[in-house]
C-alpha cells in the first residue's frame, strides 16, 4: 500500500491547507472582527497546529483510526465513532464545495453560468473518492509547489496597494469581536481531522510530529500575511469582498498595461482548491470503508452515492449560498471544535498497543 511520505505531508500542511481559508473566510472575519481579523486566525492556527502535533504522535503507533478505536473500545463503538466522524466530514465538505462553486462563477465568468459549468467537478470528486486517501500523497507533491507559486505571486502583486496601518488599533473590536470571529470561522479549520483518517497510511519518521505542526503553522503565517494584505487593501470595505485571493491583485499598476496577468496565479490557487475541496469527501468515504472494508465495488458505489447526494444538494441550494454559510458558520459552529479539536485530542488516550488475541 502507498504510504504518504514526510515531504508529501509537509507540502499539504504548509502549502495546500492554507488555500481553502483564503476564499471567503477573510471577508467573514472582517464582518465579525473588523481590523482585528488576524487574531482569530492566529488562534485557529495555534489550536490546529497543537492538534496536528497530537495526531501525528498517534501516527507513530502505525494503526488506522478504526484499528485504534477497535483496540480500545471494541468493534461496535469504533464503527459508530468512525461513521459519525465520516458523517461530520461529509457535512463539513458542503460549505467549501458551494464556496468553490460561487467562487468559480463569480471570478471566472462575466455572467452567472449554468450549474453545468461546475458539473465536471462531481465525476472527478467521485473518482478521487473511490481511490484510497493515501493516493493523495502524489497529488500533494504536485499541488504544493503550485499553491506556493500562486500565493507568492498574488502577494507580490498585492503588496504595493496595501496599507497595513488599517490593522490598527489592535483590539478595537473588543473581546466579543475577536471571540465571535474565532467561533464563527471554526468551519474552515478541519485539517486535523483529515490526518486522523490518514493514520496508518503515514510513513512516520522521527520528529514528524513537531515538524508537521511547524509546517502547518508556517502555512498559517502565510495565510495570516495574505489576510493582512487583504484587509490593508480593502479596509472598511473588506466585508464586501467575497473572493479574497481573486480581488487583491487587481490594483497592481502593471495590470492596466499587461492585462489581468494575475489570473495566472488565481488559476493556480483555484486548481489547488479543486483538490482541497474533495479532501473532506474522500476522508468521509475512507472512514466508511474502514468500517465496512474496501470490498470490490463498495468504494465506487460509495463514491458515486456521496457525490450524487452532493449534486442534489447543490441543485437545491444553488442560490442559497448565504443561507448555507450562515447556518454552518453561525448556527452550528460549535460542532466543529468538538470534532476537529476534542475528538483528535481524546484519541491520545486510546490504548497504545494492540490487544493480544487469545
Amino acid at each position: 500500500m502507498n504510504k504518504i511520505s514526510a515531504r508529501q505531508l509537509y507540502f499539504f500542511l504548509a502549502c495546500v491547507a492554507p488555500i481553502g481559508k483564503l476564499v471567503i473566510m477573510p471577508s467573514r472575519l472582517a464582518v465579525y472582527s473588523g481590523n482585528d481579523l488576524l487574531l482569530p486566525v492566529l488562534f485557529h492556527y495555534l489550536i490546529q497546529a497543537a492538534v496536528i502535533f497530537a495526531v501525528l504522535l498517534l501516527a507513530k503507533r502505525g494503526m488506522s483510526l478504526f484499528e485504534m478505536l477497535e483496540n480500545s473500545l471494541g468493534k461496535i463503538a469504533a464503527s459508530c465513532i468512525v461513521l459519525l466522524l465520516s458523517a461530520f466530514l461529509l457535512f463539513a465538505a458542503f460549505l467549501p464545495l458551494i464556496e468553490q462553486k460561487v467562487f468559480v462563477q463569480g471570478t471566472f465568468y462575466d455572467t452567472i453560468p449554468s450549474l453545468v459549468a461546475f458539473a465536471p467537478f462531481f465525476p472527478l470528486a467521485a473518482y478521487l473518492c473511490s481511490k484510497p486517501l493515501s493516493s493523495y500523497g502524489r497529488t500533494w507533491d504536485l499541488l504544493g509547489p503550485i499553491a506556493l507559486v500562486g500565493l507568492v505571486g498574488i502577494l507580490l502583486l498585492s503588496f504595493t496597494e496595501t496599507d497595513l496601518g488599517a490593522l490598527l488599533p489592535v483590539g478595537s473590536s473588543g473581546a466579543k469581536g475577536i471571540l465571535s470571529g474565532t467561533g464563527y470561522t471554526f468551519c474552515w479549520f478541519f485539517d486535523s481531522l483529515f490526518l486522523l483518517f490518514l493514520l496508518g497510511k503515514i510513513d512516520y519518521q522521527k520528529g514528524m510530529a513537531w515538524k508537521g505542526a511547524l509546517f502547518y503553522f508556517l502555512g498559517g503565517l502565510a495565510a495570516i500575511l495574505f489576510i493582512a494584505v487583504f484587509y490593508g487593501i480593502f479596509q472598511e470595505t473588506a466585508i464586501n469582498q467575497l473572493f479574497a485571493f481573486a480581488k487583491t491583485s487587481v490594483f497592481f499598476s502593471g495590470i492596466t498595461v499587461l492585462g489581468r496577468v494575475d489570473f495566472i496565479f488565481i488559476y493556480a490557487l483555484a486548481f489547488v482548491l479543486i483538490f482541497y475541496c474533495t479532501l473532506p469527501l474522500q476522508a468521509g468515504v475512507e472512514g466508511i470503508l474502514q468500517v465496512f472494508g474496501r470490498k470490490r465495488y463498495l468504494p465506487t458505489i460509495l463514491a458515486v452515492a456521496v457525490t450524487g447526494l452532493l449534486v442534489v444538494l447543490m441543485i437545491v441550494f444553488d442560490y442559497r449560498f448565504g443561507q448555507v454559510m450562515h447556518f454552518v458558520s453561525e448556527k452550528v459552529f460549535w460542532i466543529f471544535p468538538v470534532f476537529t479539536v476534542a475528538v483528535p485530542l481524546l484519541c491520545l488516550f486510546l490504548r497504545r498497543k494492540p490487544v493480544e488475541s487469545a
Binding site: V104, A119, P120, F121, Y127, P169, Q235, T237, K247, A270
Partner: protein, 407 residues
C-alpha cells in the same frame, strides 16, 4: 494482453479526461464570448439626479464596422431614468434589448447636482455588483454627467476614453489631477474620516479643431433610435468638439460634495501625497516675471501631533530644476538647470500659500481631507474618542516647505 493493459490504464485516462474537463469548464469563461448584438458593453456611466429619482447615461461600445483602417472605439449613449440606479440599468435593457454588462466599465461620472447628495446612494449599486471592477475611476463634473458623456471629444471617438486619459499614472505624476477609484472612495466614506475626494471635470470647447467624420462611427448599434434620449458619439455633426479638464478636485464629507479645490490647491494636495515626478509649477522672479520649475523629486506627508494641542504638520520636500523662463535668456542660462536662491525662496512662498489655502478649504468644508481622524483612531482609540468631533477644525497647521535645486 493489450486489452488488459488498456483496462489497467483506463482509470488514469478517465482521471485526466475529467481534469481536462474541469479546467475547460472552470477557466474558459465561455471563451469570453460576448454577443455584441445582444449585449451592452458599458464603458462609462454618468449619473444625474432627476425629480423622480436618477438618470443614468450609459456609454456603450458598439462595433465600428468592417473598415479596419479606422482606429478607436465607437459608442452610443443611452439615457435612462428610474427610482434607483438599478432601475435605470434595467430600463436600458427594456428600452434597447441590450443586456447591460458592467465588466468593462471603467469610469463613473456624477453630475454636480447629484454629487451634493450622498453619492453612495448611487454608487452602492456598483459596489454590490460582483462583476464590477473596484478600480473603476470616479469623477464629478460641472453640470450634468449626461452632457459631459454625450459631448463630442476632440481627442477620441468616445468621450469616456478621452476622459480616462486624464487619469493615467503619467497624468497623476504631473500633479495636475488627483484621480480616485471606487475602492478608495468607498474606503474613505466608510472609514472613520467619512471623507474623500474625486477629480472635478469640466469640458471646454476646442475652437477651430476639425474632426473628420469616421465612416464606421455613429451609424451602428441602433442605440440612438431605440431610445429617445439616446445619442451617438464619434459621429460628425454640429456639436462643438470638447477637451476635458480635471485640474480641480471635489471634496466630499459623508458622501456629499462640500468644496472644490482649484488647480493650485490640487497641486499642493498632490505634492503632500508625494505623487509628483515630472510636474511643473510657477515661481516668480524679483521683477514679477513667471518662471516654471520642474519637479524632479517629491516627498510629502501630513501627520497629526497630539502631544499638546492638536497640530497638523504638513511637509513638502521638492527637488526642482529650472524648466522655462518667461523672458529671453542668454545661452549660458539655458545650459544651466540650477535654480537661484531667490527663485527657491519664491517657490517656497508660493507652495506654502497653496498648502495654507488647501488647509483652509478643507477646514471650512468639514472634509477630513488628510484623514486625520483615521490617523488618530489608529494611533490611540482613547484620544480618538476625545477628539473625533473636533478634528480637523481645531488643529493648528504647521507648514514646512523645502525646495532645493538639482545640482
Amino acid at each position: 494482453m493489450k486489452a488488459r493493459k488498456f483496462l489497467k490504464t483506463l482509470p488514469m485516462k478517465f482521471y485526466l479526461l475529467l481534469l481536462g474537463l474541469i479546467l475547460f469548464s472552470f477557466f474558459s469563461n465561455d471563451f469570453g464570448l460576448v454577443d455584441i448584438q445582444k449585449t451592452a458593453v458599458i464603458l462609462a456611466a454618468g449619473i444625474d439626479k432627476t425629480e423622480e429619482g436618477f438618470s443614468l447615461t450609459a456609454q456603450i461600445a458598439v462595433p465600428k464596422g468592417s473598415d479596419r483602417s479606422q482606429g478607436g472605439t465607437s459608442s452610443v449613449d443611452i439615457e435612462s431614468e428610474g427610482a434607483t440606479v438599478s432601475d435605470c440599468v434595467s430600463n436600458i435593457f427594456s428600452e434597447t434589448g441590450w443586456v447591460p454588462k458592467l465588466v468593462f466599465i471603467n469610469l463613473i461620472v456624477i453630475g454636480e447636482e447629484a454629487a451634493k447628495e450622498d453619492v453612495i446612494s448611487y454608487l452602492n449599486y456598483f459596489m454590490r455588483n460582483e462583476y464590477m471592477n473596484d478600480s473603476c475611476y470616479l469623477a464629478v463634473c460641472e453640470g450634468k454627467a449626461h452632457d459631459l458623456l454625450t459631448s463630442k471629444s476632440a481627442t477620441d471617438d468616445t468621450s469616456a476614453l478621452a476622459i480616462q486619459k486624464l487619469f493615467s499614472n503619467a497624468a497623476e505624476k504631473t500633479g495636475k489631477v488627483m484621480p480616485n477609484n471606487l475602492k478608495d472612495f468607498s474606503i474613505g466614506y466608510y472609514g472613520v474620516s467619512k471623507s474623500g475626494y474625486l477629480p472635478y471635470l469640466r469640458s471646454q470647447s476646442q475652437k477651430g479643431a476639425e474632426h473628420s467624420p469616421s465612416p464606421g462611427t455613429g451609424e451602428s448599434g441602433g442605440g440612438s433610435s431605440s431610445s429617445s434620449s439616446g445619442s451617438s458619439s464619434g459621429a460628425s455633426g454640429d456639436k462643438d468638439e470638447k477637451v476635458y479638464i480635471a485640474e480641480e478636485t471635489a471634496l466630499f464629507s459623508e458622501g456629499k460634495l462640500v468644496a472644490i479645490l482649484p488647480r493650485e490647491q490640487t497641486l499642493a494636495f498632490s505634492m503632500l501625497s508625494g505623487n509628483i515626478v515630472s510636474g511643473t509649477f510657477n515661481a516668480k522672479e524679483k521683477d514679477g516675471k513667471a518662471v516654471t520649475l520642474a519637479v524632479i523629486e517629491n516627498k510629502g506627508g501630513v501627520s497629526l501631533d497630539m502631544s499638546g494641542a492638536p497640530r497638523v504638520k504638513m511637509q513638502i520636500d521638492l527637488t526642482v530644476r529650472l524648466c522655462c523662463r518667461g523672458t529671453t535668456a542668454p545661452i549660458e542660462d539655458i545650459s544651466e538647470d540650477d535654480v537661484s536662491e531667490e527663485l527657491l525662496e519664491s517657490a517656497k512662498e508660493v507652495l506654502s500659500q497653496y498648502v495654507a489655502d488647501l488647509w483652509e478649504t478643507g477646514k471650512k468644508s468639514g472634509c477630513d481631507l488628510f484623514h486625520l481622524r483615521r490617523d488618530l483612531y489608529r494611533a490611540s482609540l482613547k484620544k480618538y474618542k476625545e477628539w473625533k468631533d473636533f478634528l480637523p477644525e481645531v488643529a493648528e497647521p504647521e507648514i514646512k516647505t523645502e525646495v532645493k535645486s538639482l545640482k
